[in-house]
């Protein structure tokens, strides 16, 4: 972190702490002991983000936290079957949560406890589910090599595949989600009219864009390598990875228009070693202060507490997918649709990809 960013972080955090003295000490209901195992997506960046996020939770409550990775429903299912669940809190993607719910692996979120700590009206109601509450939303955006196209890169997915206006090499995720959504938007479907997906039309649209995609990306970490080496000029890439590379000085630019937003959730396995303390941590993670602190450090994600954005500097707001201006015309992944159609689409996708 640069010195300026650190100063900005302090400047943003100080007035908040002064304004909310009641939160400096944890209520009695939040005391506990022992250790919580949080299963997250791993890596030093995520661990740092989560440490900033929970802040002084261990000091205030006496409950320690340690991290493992990676969220995996099949693994949880097997741990549950053999009666040895290791995770207390899991950061599941939307359809992973639905998959875990199908097998009855999750405990309902204790909203009464959350509201003891965080006023209900601060939380985004669309992220409050029975078995999970919003952790982060992460975005897939249109990004381009600014050395090639300057600031005038493709502004939507139709332009993204316009090979005359943008001759160059293209990369997308090698996954049907969000490739189907991207294909449909490229075919002229408005972001809010994607669902329910017309699967036949989506694959017909994929046939049109497929030949224009030079490489399909398997792992999120590949974006760093692709950007640093200018292997491609146009990408439907991870917002977090792309912004981080731009901050490192790579000449890339992106637009939030028609970006694809997917929601993840904090969930608690039903048979977790310490469900009660896990509820306390999840509630604590809903505090605006912690969310703001992690956004100051890694301004790439959307957060459940709507007031987390209050008082953030302009420069940070410009990067945040949750900032009102950036969230104007986005496509939100419908986890339920994917849960219902995954089996059908996945096989067809593999079939399609293996013929490319």
């Amino acid at each position: 972190m640069t010195l300026t960013a650190r100063t900005a972080l302090l400047a943003a955090a100080l007035p908040v702490l002064a304004a909310a003295p009641a939160l400096a000490e944890a209520p009695e209901a939040f005391r506990g002991d022992g250790m919580l195992i949080v299963n997250n997506w791993g890596g030093p960046t995520v661990d740092r983000m989560h440490r900033l996020w929970y802040g002084n939770f261990p000091d205030e409550t006496g409950i320690d936290i340690s991290f493992t990775s990676i969220p995996d429903v099949a693994k949880l299912k097997i741990m549950d079957q053999v009666g040895n669940v290791e995770w207390d809190v899991v950061d599941f993607e939307g359809n992973q949560m639905l998959l875990a719910m199908k097998d009855d692996l999750l405990a309902p979120i204790d909203y009464d406890l959350i509201f003891q700590l965080v006023p209900e009206d601060q939380l985004d109601p669309s992220q409050m589910e029975e078995f999970g509450i919003g952790s982060v939303s992460f975005s897939t955006v249109i990004a381009w090599n600014a050395e090639e196209y300057g600031t005038a890169g493709p502004q939507d997915w139709t332009e993204f595949f316009d090979t005359e206006a943008f001759p160059g090499r293209r990369a997308l995720y090698a996954r049907p989600k969000p490739a189907l959504e991207i294909a449909l938007m490229a075919d002229g479907v408005a972001p809010d009219e994607i669902y329910p997906i017309d699967i036949d039309r989506a694959f017909a649209a994929l046939d049109k864009i497929g030949p224009k995609v030079d490489l399909w990306v398997e792992k999120t970490s590949q974006w760093d390598v692709l950007i640093q080496n200018r292997e491609v000029d146009l990408m439907g890439s991870s917002l977090a990875r792309t912004t981080a590379q731009i901050e490192e000085g790579e000449p890339f630019a992106l637009t939030f228009n028609e970006s694809i937003v997917e929601q993840s959730y904090w969930t608690i396995p039903k048979n977790a070693p310490n469900v009660e303390d896990a509820q306390k941590l999840v509630a604590w993670m809903m505090l605006a202060e912690g969310q703001r602190a992690s956004l100051m450090d890694l301004p790439y994600y959307g957060m459940a507490n709507l007031t987390a954005l209050d008082g953030l500097p302009e420069a940070t707001m410009a990067k945040l997918p949750g900032a009102p201006k950036n969230a104007e015309n986005v496509m939100r992944i419908n986890a339920q649709w994917w849960f219902d159609h995954d089996a059908e689409v996945q096989t067809r996708w593999l079939d399609w990809l293996s013929r490319q």
């Binding site: 429903v73 299912k77 490489l215 096989t347 593999l350």
Partner: protein
């Protein structure tokens, strides 16, 4: 040191009363010892190899799922896409094995037969790569093969080509990465097999007037075959199940059956289908083993080469 008389007569002289049943008692004791020594390894083998396979078989028929037992896993498998993925994966494993064998054979031959510092260093370099993570080596190949990578920059800057070659994010890149990663395994299995070949056989054949090519074909190659067979089986099995290297270096153009298993588990949570697919892979590998057995005899792998 006194000479111990270990002849039968000597033993007979020592313990005449045990002589009549001596041989059977010895055999019985030997068998008991073998069994007790085998018990632990057998138990470990059963626990970590056989048991998981039985569980996998059980799961492939719907064991542990909420729907109960069925043939659904195998039914879902009978789709053209899975057969195509299986076909490609077989091709990938076969070509990789062949290339590894062709590259590793001369390499191992040099390392065994030329005793020099060079051979020792070659071995070091080869085995050090085994310590590095697959992922790191996979990304290293990207750095070398990509459009602005080492190879392309060299070729373009020296004017040999105008446009960078497509060396990675296609099947070619996958083969390069897989062969590089699996080559040491082939060399490692070839070296002991070649070391066990008695050089006297080769010298004898040569001194009797056989041309070198024929000596190699009829003496050296057959004697090194067990090593080659063992190495090929190892490389084939590893290549068959490799997933992250084809996924990254292939740029989506080399989808393997293992990729399908990954999706079946992580995205679909369909453990039955994943187990059924895994059983299919297992059957193919076992089939291969049986073919090898017919061709060269599986027990020859455990031969000590030229004896």
């Amino acid at each position: 040191m006194t000479q111990i008389d270990a002849t039968e007569a000597g033993i007979a002289r020592l313990r005449p009363e045990e002589r009549r049943h001596g041989a059977t008692a010895w055999e019985r004791q030997q068998r008991g010892l073998t069994l007790s020594l085998m018990a632990l390894p057998m138990a470990v083998m059963a626990a970590v190899f056989v048991l998981p396979l039985i569980v996998l078989l059980w799961m492939s028929f719907g064991g542990g799922s909420s729907e109960g037992f069925s043939l659904k896993g195998y039914g879902d498998l009978m789709q053209p896409v899975y057969l195509r993925l299986l076909g490609f994966t077989l091709q990938l494993a076969f070509v990789t094995t062949l290339a590894c064998a062709l590259l590793a054979y001369p390499l191992a031959y040099l390392m065994v037969n030329i005793r020099s510092r060079f051979a020792a260093w070659m071995g070091m370099v080869l085995f050090v790569t085994l310590w590095l993570s697959f992922l790191a080596r996979t990304f290293s190949w990207i750095i070398i093969l990509q459009r602005r990578g080492v190879v392309n920059n060299l070729l373009v800057n020296t004017g040999l080509i105008d446009q960078p070659l497509e060396l990675v994010y296609n099947k070619f890149g996958v083969y390069v990465g897989l062969i590089h990663i699996l080559l040491p395994f082939m060399v490692i299995t070839l070296i002991p097999a070649m070391k066990a070949i008695d050089p006297a056989y080769v010298r004898a054949a040569l001194s009797l007037g056989s041309p070198p090519a024929r000596v190699f074909r009829e003496v050296y190659l057959p004697l090194s075959l067990p090593g080659l067979v063992a190495g090929s089986m190892l490389v084939f099995t590893l290549a068959f199940g490799f997933f992250i290297t084809p996924a990254i270096l292939g740029g989506g153009r080399a989808p393997t059956i293992v990729l399908a298993i990954r999706d079946q588990i992580q995205t679909l949570g369909n453990l039955q289908l994943a187990a059924a697919t895994s059983m299919l892979l297992l059957v193919f590998c076992l089939g291969l083993l049986i073919i090898y057995d017919r061709v060269s005899g599986i027990d020859r792998i455990y031969d000590k080469g030229g004896r």
